[in-house]
């Protein structure tokens, strides 16, 4: 199986690269920027969908890892004049360490407690940038100087180069993740997600497996943060708010939790829907306070509707559509194992431990 799937994944990556190349050459610079945005988003979302979908750990703070990656890149390029590739690799290493630390702390936490801790991480970390103004640039952040290489010619649009770089990083990340997910490590993640005790009895080191998932997801977020730094030429706390962390989880679930193609659909949705609605609103000449808020409201409505219409996310919905035409195919990989990361166990198996506290409220 793996003999065929590796070429298939590489093939899919190459096809996507060609499509992106074609789009970036044909479309406007703004679309180039959007391509880069989607690539940044999908890199981070893919890591999160692996963490939450496969290893069963929720994170509402992956924006913090993006911030670490972004600031690492900015500081190295600003003070040490590192070339971008070196800064990118260094960002991955630094966020891997950070992910390891958070992962160790998180290994004992479950469900909403993990959600709360990671959410607070996502809130607290950007606040450090404001507290250490001298080093991290405060609210204004740090500027990142990134230029297209000389051999492309002086007139080559920077946004196109940014789109290419981020797409390449995103695709490499996706191919590596896909291989990881169906390796022994990926199987261990699923085993731990489904039943920790059974996994431990089978010789899986539960703690190490869970921490490793955090490291992998942090590396992806770090790469995404580093890309975001060069795409926007800036790292500032405002870019890494908790809203970003929540958007990442939203994209992962909307796309289809645990599915890498789903990460792409989710990222496309959260990047494109707001811009599309803004375009429509401005073309109808709506006042700015109304016009600027309609995309927000529409985005919220789309999230609710997609979740109600496609409980398994977009990838699950697509798969159901497909089987409608072709009949069930046992060979295809379904994101049906969109898992239960202990966030909200079903209502009836819920609180088995309420006895003593019954009277408190």
């Amino acid at each position: 199986m793996s003999m065929q799937t590796l070429p298939r994944r590489l093939g899919a990556a190459v096809v996507t690269a060609v499509i992106v190349w074609f789009l970036s050459v044909r479309l406007s610079t703004f679309r180039d920027f959007q391509i880069a945005e989607v690539a940044v988003e999908v890199t981070a979302v893919a890591g999160l969908t692996v963490l939450t979908g496969l290893s069963g750990q929720i994170s509402l703070g992956n924006g913090a890892f993006m911030a670490i990656g972004g600031y690492t890149t900015a500081l190295l390029m600003l003070h040490l004049n590192w070339p971008y590739v070196a800064a990118l690799v260094a960002s991955a290493v630094v966020t891997a360490v950070a992910g390891g630390i958070v992962g160790v702390a998180a290994a004992r936490l479950r469900g909403p407690y993990l959600a709360g801790a990671t959410l607070m991480l996502g809130v607290a970390l950007p606040a450090l940038a404001a507290a250490y103004q001298g080093f991290l640039g405060g609210d204004q952040g740090l500027n990142v100087v990134f230029t297209a290489p000389a051999f492309l010619g002086a007139t080559f649009p920077l946004t196109r180069w940014q789109a290419w770089v981020s797409t390449v990083v995103a695709l490499v990340t996706l191919v590596l993740l896909a291989n990881l997910c169906y390796s022994r490590i990926g199987r261990n993640w699923r085993a731990v997600r489904d039943d920790e005790v059974a996994a431990a009895l089978d010789g899986v080191n539960v703690a190490v497996t869970r921490v490793l998932a955090f490291v992998v997801s942090a590396i992806c977020a770090g790469l995404a943060g580093s890309l975001l730094a060069i795409v926007t030429s800036l790292v500032a706390p405002g870019a890494f708010t908790v809203t970003l962390s929540i958007a990442l989880l939203t994209a992962a679930v909307i796309g289809g939790l645990g599915s890498l193609p789903g990460a792409l659909w989710g990222s496309l949705l959260i990047v494109i829907v707001p811009t599309y609605v803004t375009d429509v609103a401005t073309s109808h000449g709506l006042s700015s306070s109304v016009g600027s808020n309609i995309p927000i409201a529409a985005y919220g409505a789309v999230l609710i509707l997609v979740m109600l219409a496609f409980p398994q996310g977009i990838q699950g919905g697509l798969h159901r559509l497909l089987t409608l035409f072709t009949g069930p195919d046992p060979g295809t990989r379904v994101p049906r194992d969109a898992p239960a990361p202990h966030v909200t166990p079903p209502a009836d198996e819920a609180p088995a431990s309420h006895h003593e506290k019954e009277g408190t409220l």
Partner: protein, 294 residues
């Protein structure tokens, strides 16, 4: 010393607000095993409704009452329309629906009320009380905030303990299947839980808005700290929610007051407290001994 007293009392005042938000999250968590990320957004909307009513009638108490009723209705309507269909779906779906609801409500608030900061009136004077010339660092309004949240908490506790509706709610939270077999309409009970949570959220929104101003995102920070308070206390424990809220309110007030670059480090302090508590007790301070099924 006066400074310490001031920080303490202001910490208690904010702590009561966090406690109210935490309590509303606990109410929903116990019933539906879902974290309602839209709790802050719902409170923001009801506070806007209150400000409009106050503006048109000139009466604070009319706005106050309307906000609470609106909170009850909003909670029930949201549960009936968009939360109930997610109940038998993968657990994160409900989470994303509440996040979508939050974004939708903030967008709607921006469309209908505009994005500018609006000041919210208080029921009582906000000038500090004095005892024989010594300022206490606390106003009549601060006392009102604490009393209102305490009264709501107490009323809920009594209702849960001594009324048959409260008994039904406890039964449904304890074991939905058995409750259903005993003839309790669990679905309806869950709606009531959301309505009560909406009430508490609305109360928190009205009480906190004089000190934070009102704008579409104004409840985000309050929600995050309320959530943190609930996690510190343990999501299954109402007493834990109140304790967690007070603890967090006090700690953040001292941090903001005494640390050198205090204001910007407040979230970091909150993270520190949360991590410390969760390292010692992964299910919050008031968690019961856990049974892990094999």
């Amino acid at each position: 010393m006066v400074e310490f007293l001031q920080f303490t009392l202001s910490g208690v005042s904010f702590g009561m607000i966090y406690a109210a938000v935490a309590l509303s999250l606990v109410l929903i968590w116990r019933g539906t095993r879902l974290l309602n990320y839209a709790q802050g957004g719902m409170a923001m909307i009801t506070t806007y409704i209150a400000i409009e009513v106050i503006y048109h009638t000139g009466s604070y108490w009319a706005g106050f009452a309307v906000a609470l009723v609106a909170g009850i209705l909003l909670g029930a309507v949201c549960q009936l329309t968009i939360i109930r269909p997610t109940m038998n779906k993968p657990p994160l779906n409900g989470v994303i629906v509440t996040i979508g609801l939050l974004v939708l409500l903030e967008g709607l608030a921006g469309i209908f009320f505009g994005g500018q900061f609006r000041s919210f009136p208080t029921a009582f004077s906000v000038t500090g009380l004095r005892v024989g010339g010594t300022p206490l660092g606390v106003s009549r309004y601060d006392i009102f905030v604490a009393v209102a949240v305490l009264a709501a908490t107490l009323a809920l506790a009594l209702a849960f303990r001594y009324t048959s509706a409260g008994l039904r709610m406890r039964a449904a939270a304890f074991n939905a299947t058995i409750a259903r077999l005993s003839g309790i309409r669990v679905a309806r009970v869950l709606t009531v839980g959301w309505a009560l949570a909406g009430l508490l959220g609305a109360l928190a929104g009205v009480l906190v808005s004089p000190s934070t101003f009102l704008y579409p995102n104004s409840m985000d920070t309050i929600f995050v700290y309320g959530f943190t308070a609930a996690v510190i206390g343990g999501l299954d424990s109402p007493a834990g929610a109140v304790t967690g809220g007070l603890l967090l309110g006090l700690a953040l007030s001292y941090a903001g007051g005494y640390l050198p670059s205090g204001a910007s480090l407040v979230p970091v302090v909150a993270l520190g407290i949360l991590v410390l508590v969760l390292m010692a007790r992964p299910d919050g301070l008031f968690s019961a001994t856990k049974v892990r099924r094999v």
